[in-house]
Point group: C2
Chain length 137, copies 2
DNA sequence: CTAATTGCTCTAGCGACTAGAGGTTCAAGA
DNA sequence: TCTTGAACCTCTAGTCGCTAGAGCAATTAG
């Protein structure tokens, strides 16, 4: 049986975050000691690792809850799980595409300033005038 | 003189967002009509366009405020403005690098499931076991 | 003049935590 | 057994950049 602090050390998830996951119904309410402190077992440790891994991959709390519920029904078709993963991949690709546009513009803006004073600073001029940008963002 | 709605239409910034920028001290408190409604001029329109452009490039409110304050002192050196742009570029590049790692892992996770049920779904297995991942994330 | 639209302020909500207050329980040493 | 200090408990509020809504006042078109 682990205390919440020990579970935190073993998973790298901070103590208040574990309590937050319980509140969000990702973790089930665990057993308690006589003095009302949380006591966890091995299955909770595995679930928390699952949650942490899914969060590290950028999945939303709601998606993770759905995946956890699915994994409790091993005989059901896994189309929903596959869909969640594909949607997350698409979302990540969308964000990358958007950030690459920003990168292109910022590269120009951040490296083209040859002025010395604010009055002729390219950074300030570029921000004032979007027509200097190569494409939309 | 523009009303806040007209300013909104001309810049594409929503009305409550304009009021929010005023509250955050990016926009100065404008003149008011006899009935206490905001009235803007050309300079406020330009400032709002500046703010919108900077936000579109991902700059934080605090950085934008700093840039606006700088642009009021055209004779000062522009090192601070250049630094803010370079930091933003670095931040965007960092986020892209992180997202590319996620993309690699998610690509594998989302496309490798040949199972039909949750019990042998690769998505669920991959989330349960980080050692299946190629690199850290 | 009336009605529709737009404006005003204030408060609360989003997502995923994080920090702090104020109090209780646990574990180890004397 | 007692004491101390770390860890734990619940609850509330703050982060960021908006967005939504309530309940009212001002403007504008017909
Ligand atoms: Zn410069
Ligand atoms: Zn631009
Ligand atoms: Zn599957
Ligand atoms: Zn992994």
């Amino acid at each position: 049986m682990y205390s919440i602090g020990e579970l935190s050390r073993r998973t790298g998830v901070k103590v208040p975050t574990i309590r937050y996951y319980e509140q969000m119904r990702l973790m089930e309410a665990p057993e308690r000691s006589d003095g009302n402190q949380r006591r966890y077992g091995k299955s909770e440790l595995e679930r928390l690792a699952f949650i942490r891994h899914a969060r590290d991959l950028g999945l939303a709390i709601d998606s993770i809850r759905e995946l956890i519920e699915l994994s409790g029904h091993p005989d059901m078709p896994c189309a929903d799980a596959d869909r969640i993963a594909k949607e997350q991949l698409a979302s990540v690709r969308g964000r990358i595409a958007r950030l690459r546009k920003l990168e292109r513009e910022l590269e120009r803006i951040a490296t083209c300033c040859i002025g010395e004073t604010v009055g002729d600073c390219y950074v300030i001029r570029a921000l004032s005038d979007h027509t200097l940008c190569r494409d939309e963002h």
